[in-house]
Amino acid sequence: MWLEKLHLTHFKNYEAGSYTFGERVNCLVGQNGSGKTNLLDAIYFLALTKSAFQNQDALTIQHEADFLVLDGIFRDGTRRTQITGSLQRGQRKVMMADKKAYDRLSDHIGRFPVVLIAPDDTDLVRDGSEERRRFFDGVLAQLTPAYLDDFLQYNKILSQRNSLLKIFAERNYLDEDMLETYNEPLIALAQRIYEHRRRFMEHFLPLVGRYYAYLSNERERVDLIYESEVARPDFPTEFRKHRSRDLHAQRTSKGIHKDDYVFEIDGRALRKFGSQGQQKSFVIALKLAQYELLALEKETQPILLLDDIFDKLDDLRIHKLIEMIDSGSLGQVFITDARPERSHRILDQVAADVRFFEIGKSYE
């Protein structure tokens, strides 16, 4: 699966832009601030219905414009699909496939798999558990539509329950039956989501180990441990036991929204004991493992977006990624680089078709 054409209107710094991409390697060069990463983000947006870098949709609309439109042609063999994403200030986001709007945005997620490797990925290692949950939820959502459905429903019930706890606190009363009305579905969904995550990890972990070894030429053993209180057989009892704490905090203290993923290297915390290089290798291994699982599940090669990797990675890891591109184990790849001479030098070794795009020239 690959993106043949992309047209942007009022997306981030783009007034308007049209691109026709190659099936294999597309290198986007241009100065800092010219919009290379924004172009990657536009591709990400078309595939996953939102920006990779901006949580607030409205901020992806060009400054002082009223709306944005992204329009792309995805190719899979002989099949062409036109995907359009549009957003008007103050209105709901619309995604369309061949001009037909989706009823639910979530129905689109996973149809056109995409994986992004970006410079700030190592935040996954260093930041709090929320970042890691967000990453794995994104991976699972693309992989399994049923996961996304359960996850969205869980969050909906969770926010209802939390609002209910607030109502109880504000009006100073407690209705056990009402609380229980939310407890039952919440516990059932938590257990289902836990099962999704646990089973996913069984397939994911061996791939991460393999890619880490490939990328680093080193012998450390990496591990990825999924931790969840929902795993305990007495979770439903535990969940209900925390009722008074929940009431006090006006927040639900137990559930899959408290899960974490622990990254280890030789049995020790990667965050504390891993070098910069080890942390980078680890997160790239995560992304490549995601790529392989998506390719297996969707029976098509995802689009790989590589943001600024020549600047942020050392020669060995760059060489390994280029090797993968050359071997054909990666499909369509987008690479951004601020220094064209460097990317020319590196990509000239690649046998596959490479196209260069100078970004920002004609529009500034």
Binding site: I157, S163, I167, F168, D175, Y182
Partner: protein, 204 residues
Amino acid sequence: MNYPSRLIEDAVNEIAKLPGIGKKTALRLALHLLKRDEEQTRALSDALLSMRTQTQFCRQCHNIADGELCAICSSTKRDASLICVVVDTRDVLAIENTSQYHGHYHVLGGIISPLEGIGPADLHIESLVRRLQQASEQEPVREIILALSPTMEGDTTAFYLQKKLKPTGVKVSTIARGIPIGGDLEYADEITLGRSIVSRVAYD
């Protein structure tokens, strides 16, 4: 939009606050009223004001009423042993139009959604429980029918009502969910179709 007069602008803004009416429609309505007799506008505003100030809610079922009891609760032809629980008056009208139901109603006045600040105490749930407890021995309530929308909030409300009504010992049922009459199986969404299979009906 630029208006020729402040008075028209005020009127348009007020009319456009109504659900389903935008500024353009509001302007059309305002200009329409200007063209007609003053008497017509007076009749409209009088009707609206009387509706707002004089409408009462039935003390038994909370449906809209002209007096203390609504027409349904005060009718001797209705079966008081059946109570159908609905969200608002529009649902009462919808069920009345089916001509299939001859019992009483209980209007909740909303649906439980803490996110929107609506808890169970904001709805007429306590009064439903009281109504069952106070039902006379000669005329006990046989069944409560929950007619709520099959959304997450509707299901939550139904689930909560079940819990609250259980101690009264009255039978509680919910309206069936399934394929619309005249609908086509292949176009039914999978959740509805799945539910229809699970709760299939045997031929007698």
